[in-house]
């Protein structure tokens, strides 16, 4: 049983033409780092939040999400609390929005320990100091007494990471943890996350729209488009030979982590919104391989192609053309 598993999870919001998530299956084993990659609005955050029992209000669901043996869809509040307070933690994109600006850093780090675990102040603070040192902040005792606005974005994201570790989770969900930061800080934060993940044997689900970042930090990658997984493979395989036209497009449009953005050819068109739906492949309108009469008739299923899974009608026949 993997640490985190999504089994055919669908999430439908009232008044929308298509589901936000449409049959998502994904798994993260203990100690494994997995990335979920996709453009803005593809449903990455909804996916990650579901692992903490956070669903958009009014959503109807099908399928299941299981964290460390706890099924979250339709779970009672106690199970949800159990997952949130010791099994999984989330690191959010913008630490300035995710940390209460009027309370001290120390309060952010210790409140869950004190109010949920019932530990004493001294014990909770000692643990907070350890964690601040573990995420590489220079002066933990001082940071405990500081307010969020007194720290830079990168430092605050480290605080966020420390906060996620207080409950000693087995799974870290990172929702675009570096998007709000500048490039140098991004690399530092990724290094911290990677080191913590390996030292502590954590399962890691990294959400990003940057395939290069995903490949640098993770073992396996899932590519998501319009609420569906369209391709999944090991990081090395996916980067070397993307099979799905969307993955190939993403590789063309993601600026490299280091050096000049030489490969910047964005995918033409815009992602499909929630108010649109298509009878066939959701990517058809933007796909240069789209074949009328096939791609616009039925949605392609995720099917094995060699070692990996790809959801494309032409996965077998266009292999060579996608290869760079």
């Amino acid at each position: 049983m993997p640490l985190l598993s999504y089994e055919d999870l669908s999430v439908l919001l009232p008044g929308m033409a298509r589901p936000v998530l449409d049959g998502v299956s994904l798994s993260v084993a203990a100690g494994e780092a997995v990335a979920l990659v996709g453009e803005s609005g593809s449903g990455k955050s909804v996916t990650a939040r579901a692992a903490l029992g956070l669903l958009p209000p009014g959503a109807t669901t099908a399928g299941q999400v299981t964290v460390d043996g706890c099924a979250l869809i339709g779970a009672d509040p106690a199970t949800v609390r159990a997952v949130r307070t010791g099994k999984a933690s989330m690191i959010f994109q913008d630490p300035r929005a995710a940390i209460n600006p009027v309370r001290r850093i120390g309060d952010f780090l210790t409140e869950a320990l004190r109010l949920v675990d019932g530990r004493g102040r001294a014990e909770a603070e000692a643990r907070a100091l350890d964690l601040l040192a573990a995420v590489g902040l220079p002066d933990p005792p001082r940071h405990l007494r500081q307010y969020p606005h007194q720290l830079s974005g990168g430092m605050l994201q480290r605080v966020m990471i420390a906060g996620a570790l207080t409950a000693d989770p087995r799974l870290l969900l990172c929702d675009e943890p570096t998007t709000a930061l500048d490039v140098t800080t991004q690399a530092e934060i990724m290094a911290v996350l990677r080191a913590l993940q390996q030292d502590r044997g954590l399962g890691l689900l990294l959400i990003t729209h940057d395939l290069d970042l995903a490949a640098a930090g993770c073992d396996r990658i899932y590519v998501m488009y319009a609420g569906r997984i369209v391709e999944t493979a090991t990081a090395a395989e996916l980067l070397a030979t993307p099979r799905h036209p969307y993955t190939a497009g993403l590789l063309g449009s993601s600026p490299p982590l280091h050096g000049a953005p030489e490969r910047l050819t964005p995918i033409p068109g815009v992602p499909m919104g929630l108010l649109e739906s298509a009878p066939g492949c959701a990517f058809a309108a933007r796909c240069r391989f789209a074949r009328p009469g096939l791609c616009d008739q039925s949605p392609p299923e995720l099917a094995p192609v060699g070692e990996r899974l790809v959801a494309c009608h032409l996965a077998d026949s266009i292999l060579s053309e996608v290869d760079r």
């Binding site: 600006p101 409140e111 606005h149 007194q150």
Partner: protein, 322 residues
């Protein structure tokens, strides 16, 4: 520490600003009443028909002939020494007239403030947390009705229903002894606070709703924090700024409304004194009360400004050096 020094400096600036405001106010108050129609000397000899000589002598005695700046200076000098002049109406010093009326008004305002803080803020919290339910709609309805009811209407209704019809509360006077006074002050306090309560409820509700939407609230919940603790520590705590500010702004409105409410309930306080002295052209008392109301307003709002950095530490950073 530099931040402490910066804080002390900004506090000092605020206090200085407060002093200047009070000085300007005192000038405006004095000059507006100086320019008001009606001859105070004629008032003093009301009931008799004085000879012109007699009037002139009175003018001389009370300094009515002195040029405006001199009179202002005399008055200000007195005020600074706690001497607000003499009341023509009561034949006592203004200070002792005020002093005898102040406790009743302070009790009224104190009880009203407590009601506003507890009921107004409480209803606002409930209104925000129960938004979209029947309870939430009831709060909104109460706010709409409460804000539309002027205090004199509330006073009349409360008196006739809870006072006269049901006989639960006395309808007139101040009462003697603390418990009896408290009993007497309940209806006036409700009448005084209805409008302000509605305002505070509205501000509290919308501030709470704003804060409920913040991402850090969802983050706290996603960390398994109990909902009650999140509401208290992250939602209400962050909503305090607007709540405290609006409470500070209400003070002067409340003090002015005591005039209506105290008169309606036949209470003897500073508010009813103001009405009486305006009627009888007792300028010295009117000046003192107006100045007092403004002073209370300025002091309360300076206090709000001074506690604001405690409520929102980001203000501290913006005000002083980082």
């Amino acid at each position: 520490m530099t931040s402490v020094r910066a804080a002390a400096r900004s506090a000092l600036c605020r206090l200085l600003g407060m002093a200047v405001t009070l000085l300007v106010t005192s000038f405006l108050v004095f000059s507006s009443l100086y320019l008001a129609p009606g001859d105070p000397a004629a008032f003093l000899v009301r009931g008799r028909s004085p000879s012109p000589d007699e009037l002139a002598a009175i003018r001389q005695q009370y300094g009515f002939n002195d040029p405006f700046p001199v009179r202002y200076w005399h008055w200000l000098d007195g005020v600074l020494h706690g001497d607000f002049g003499r009341s023509y109406l009561f034949h006592q010093s203004v200070a002792s007239v005020l002093w005898s009326r102040l406790p009743a008004t302070l009790l009224l305002v104190g009880v009203s403030t407590l009601m506003i803080a507890v009921v107004g803020v409480g209803a606002g919290i409930v209104g925000a947390l129960r938004r979209g339910t029947r309870t939430g709609s009831a709060v909104l309805l109460m706010v709409t009705v409460g804000a539309a009811v002027p205090s004199f209407v509330a006073a009349i209704v409360l008196r006739s229903v809870l006072g006269v019809k049901l006989g639960w509360f006395p309808t007139i006077g101040n009462g003697t002894g603390f418990v009896d006074q408290l009993h007497h002050v309940v209806l006036p306090a409700i009448a005084l606070s209805v409008t302000f309560m509605a305002l505070v409820t509205r501000v509290t509700r919308s501030a709470m709703l704003d804060e409920l939407r913040r991402e850090h609230v969802e983050v706290a919940l996603s960390r398994g924090m109990p909902r009650g603790a999140v509401i208290r520590r992250h939602v209400l705590r962050n909503a305090l700024g607007p709540i405290v500010t609006v409470c500070g702004l209400l003070v002067s409105g409340m003090l002015v409304s005591t005039a209506i409410v105290e008169t309606a309930f036949g209470m003897s306080g500073v508010g009813s004194l103001l009405v009486q002295c305006v009627d009888e052209l007792d300028f010295q008392v009117v000046q003192a009360i107006v100045l007092l109301v403004v002073a209370a307003f300025v002091v309360v709002n300076t206090a709000v400004d001074l506690v604001y950095p405690l409520i929102d530490p980001r203000v501290r950073a913006a005000g002083g050096a980082r």
